[in-house]
Symmetry: C2
Subunit: 134 residues, 2 copies
DNA sequence: CACCATAATAGTAATGATTATTGTTATGGG
DNA sequence: CCCATAACAATAATCATTACTATTATGGTG
């Protein structure tokens, strides 16, 4: 076989397009709602399965942020996130990872340190506005 | 009424004792199993309800780490955690919070920054041993 | 000490996100 | 054109957590 059997179907294209369009790190069901405009009878299971497949293949990144739902990111470069404590929205924090932190962690535990994430919490601009007017 | 109606029941005492005994930041069902030795017919719902009540009252801390389950900590002082990518165990990283990080985050987003967590990932000593022997 | 309002409980049902299953459809190489 | 199989839609199952309900326990007051 010449290809590895990975087919870029209409559904996958739609999910990927939608994910690349936004900066909000959407949840599976948010993507499902958005993608339904292109593929009206796509299944939620299909969205989940393809998000899983694509993150396993390194095409996208699954971010396991605090809260009940997984979120997804078209940016596969390592970077930090900030999460709104009101609405759950997740945005990027423009800063690169800091290797010194991992050294610090490995010195103070018996763990073999593999990586780290920093998650900031705060109030996003939209919620600040809603607070002010509401 | 003189008191605020908070009763330190046998069940609450047992949950709190168990949580203070360990450093592994157990999940609700782990605490449930442990507490059953003291209170054989305690309900899982009671464990959840009291963990919720006690963390709302600031007696304990609920930590929302990556992964599907909530974890709980008797140490209410702010500190960082490290999570084993194999077994999910969570331990402390001996380092204090770093305010400069939050300033950095607020400068690169439009958020009003309220806080942050750092979660390290790695392999805990028990899993390292299991890898070596298994 | 007995009473009573109510906090808290055990047991169970419901919820919500995710994963698994199943039978069907679509695709692309030979 | 055919066939193996990747992928699909629809739906059922799972798992952590929360909500509900009827019952029990507690502690202050008369």
């Amino acid at each position: 076989m010449t290809s590895d059997g990975f087919r870029l179907t209409r559904q996958r294209r739609a999910i990927l397009d939608e994910l690349r369009k936004v900066t909000s790190h959407p949840t599976a069901d948010e993507l499902y709602e958005a993608v339904r405009r292109q593929c009206p009878n796509i299944s939620l299971g299909t969205v989940y399965r393809n998000l899983e497949t694509m993150s396993a293949n390194g095409i996208i990144r699954r971010i396991d942020v605090a809260g009940r739902q997984m979120r997804f990111d078209a940016d596969i470069e390592p970077h930090y996130h900030i999460r709104c404590v009101h609405c759950g929205r997740v945005d990027d924090v423009g800063s690169s990872t800091w290797d010194r932190l991992e050294k610090l962690a490995s010195e103070s535990t018996e763990y073999e340190v593999l990586g780290h994430t920093i998650e900031f919490t705060g109030v996003c601009p939209a919620c600040k506005e809603r607070e002010r007017s509401g």
